[in-house]
Symmetry: C2
Subunit: 348 residues, 2 copies
């Protein structure tokens, strides 16, 4: 074994070389260099092993180790790394929750626009014990269905607004979230509820939000009206101001704005003020996703909050169950978001 | 070679098995499954290879591939994944810039609080061609100095507010940034310039900011006054309100707030309003880092902007140079941030 890996690694020193130099067993070398603090190794022995490894220039080659152990201690988190407050918060939470487990995160950008075989190849270069695909609509679905031939038995959980029923998943029902928001606005007397969504939105990106809004409006005998705002943060306030000016010209001023994600809701506050409308008084605002920024500012914003904490913890638990027992049945759950009412939509 | 890897991988089909079934060379199999679109392979041959790979259940094992090819096409981005707007923007930019190269990012959380050998072990499980350590103060320094024994010749660039002079780096001089901010505030007539920093800040976290502020104030015959605000976003506005109330009781109301990072500056706006002070009129605000959120809102905020784009592009260029020619000399640069004056500190 050590000969094989030694030759593959081009004659580099092996674990056994370190063991013999440090006068300890190979197992002890693994304990010291294996990445987890191990109380059973004394500080003196630990120092000797580290010293021997340094002297020999020994590298515990992660690729070779992965092949030997069959486990890498890494979980692949596949997601888009494009900027969004919500994504940054999910990363933060995944980091905190995984820190309590034996697994570390390796975050890979799985770009939906790549051909699937390219995406997975890049992502699969990282030797992981399992994968969580977060808000990866196409990639998640394709991998869940085709994964058996691409990476047999790789434990896989899809998580977020998109999930694949072919494997384990932790879904979040954003259609139900949009419905909650409309119901709340109707209950507080709003009737002219507009829906703000980015220019480049489509059915996949909406993940049920637009559908939930439209169905609820129609069911209440009201006309759904969707407006497209700039996706770019720099132009967004201006684009909402323009939409409001246009509404005014047409004699239809909304009394509520339901925003597809909460950065739009945050930008709606200054846009309303610049348009001479009082946020939360003349026009209610509700944002979907529910990031930290919404409760700050002079007009705290009502949100449909994604259950980030429970979503991340559940997905990680499902994945670890699959890693521990690869043949165990898939676990599947759909979570509902939560409506948090703040000043932007409250009627006093 | 193929026997070795076949036995290491537990008898799984090899690249040669796929090649013989698809009646193509092993090189062609690698081209098709190698992760990069290759125009030299015809669509028909590509389909045959994909089909053969699927039928055999062939997995291009990334670990084995890494050992064979010596390259993985991955760049390790070591950073803290804890939430910050600035970090999320750096991730976004690194993603966009690396998409134009042959490299994909594997983002690893390098927690400063771990013992260094644990951090690196986890990060080094991912087979990368090189590493960019972003704002990783201790880890970056230790790895740059000790890396030769941990992972010999692994190309390494430190980037951001902390850099190690032992290897290539792209530093950002935040001390100069704080000095620029104080000079600007002095030039616009402010004298009672307070510095707001998080409770848990220290010399490492400040990375020269506090020092730059204090030196400039003292040099101008003014007294530096530092106030500690809540690190938690939820309590930050309230904590700034409290600081301002305390200042008022002591009869010293600041006429400018220099904020250690820009989320503090963003929260200073509602805090000033709640304290009966007009942001930008009674009290100027300047934030350091310069994220997107600062130009929005009713009081666009003056910032000392980190040169995110050029920092990321330069670090990636330095790293690729090291990957292409491992023995080429280190490249080192220190960038200065840029002062962007907005309504929060302008004197009309």
């Amino acid at each position: 074994m050590s000969k094989n890996s030694s030759s593959l690694m081009g004659g580099r020193p092996t674990r056994d070389d370190v063991a013999s130099r440090a006068r300890v067993s190979g197992t002890t070398v693994s304990r010291v260099l294996g990445g987890k603090p191990d109380e059973s190794v004394s500080p003196a022995v630990r120092a000797r092993v580290l010293e021997a490894a340094r002297e020999l220039g020994y590298v515990p080659n992660s690729a070779a180790q992965a092949l030997r152990r069959g486990r890498t201690g890494l979980i692949g988190l596949w997601m888009c790394l494009g900027y969004s407050r919500y994504r940054a918060e999910v990363l933060d939470r995944m980091r905190r929750i995984s820190a309590e487990t034996d697994h570390a995160l390796a975050v890979l950008d799985v770009d939906e626009e790549y051909a699937w075989h390219r995406s997975f190849d890049r992502a699969l270069r990282v030797p992981v014990d399992g994968v969580i695909a977060f808000d990866a609509s196409t990639a998640g679905e394709v991998f869940a269905r085709e994964g058996q031939s691409i990476a047999p038995n790789l434990p896989f959980v899809s998580m977020g607004a998109y999930w694949s029923e072919a494997k384990s998943y932790v879904g979040v029902d954003l259609k139900a979230g949009a419905e909650m928001a409309v119901d709340h606005l109707l209950a507080t007397g709003r009737r002219r509820i507009a829906y703000l969504t980015p220019q480049d939105s489509n059915a996949t990106i909406e993940a049920g939000r637009l559908e939930g809004y439209e169905e609820r409006m129609v069911a209440s005998g009201l006309e759904p009206r969707t407006f497209r705002v700039s996706y770019s943060a720099a132009d967004r306030v201006a684009s909402i101001v323009e939409i409001l000016a246009d509404c005014r010209r047409r004699g239809w001023i909304p009394d509520a704005l339901l925003c597809m994600f909460d950065d739009i809701a945050i930008d709606a506050v200054p846009a309303l003020i610049r348009s001479g409308l009082r946020p939360g008084v003349d026009v209610a605002i509700v944002g979907i996703n529910g990031s930290e920024g919404t409760e700050r500012g002079e007009c705290p914003i009502t949100i449909v909050r994604q259950p980030i904490e429970i979503m991340c913890a559940t997905a990680l638990a499902y994945l670890e169950a699959q890693i521990d027992a690869p043949s165990s049945p898939f676990q599947q759950i759909i979570l509902k978001p939560e409506l948090i009412v703040r000043a932007s939509s409250r009627r006093d």
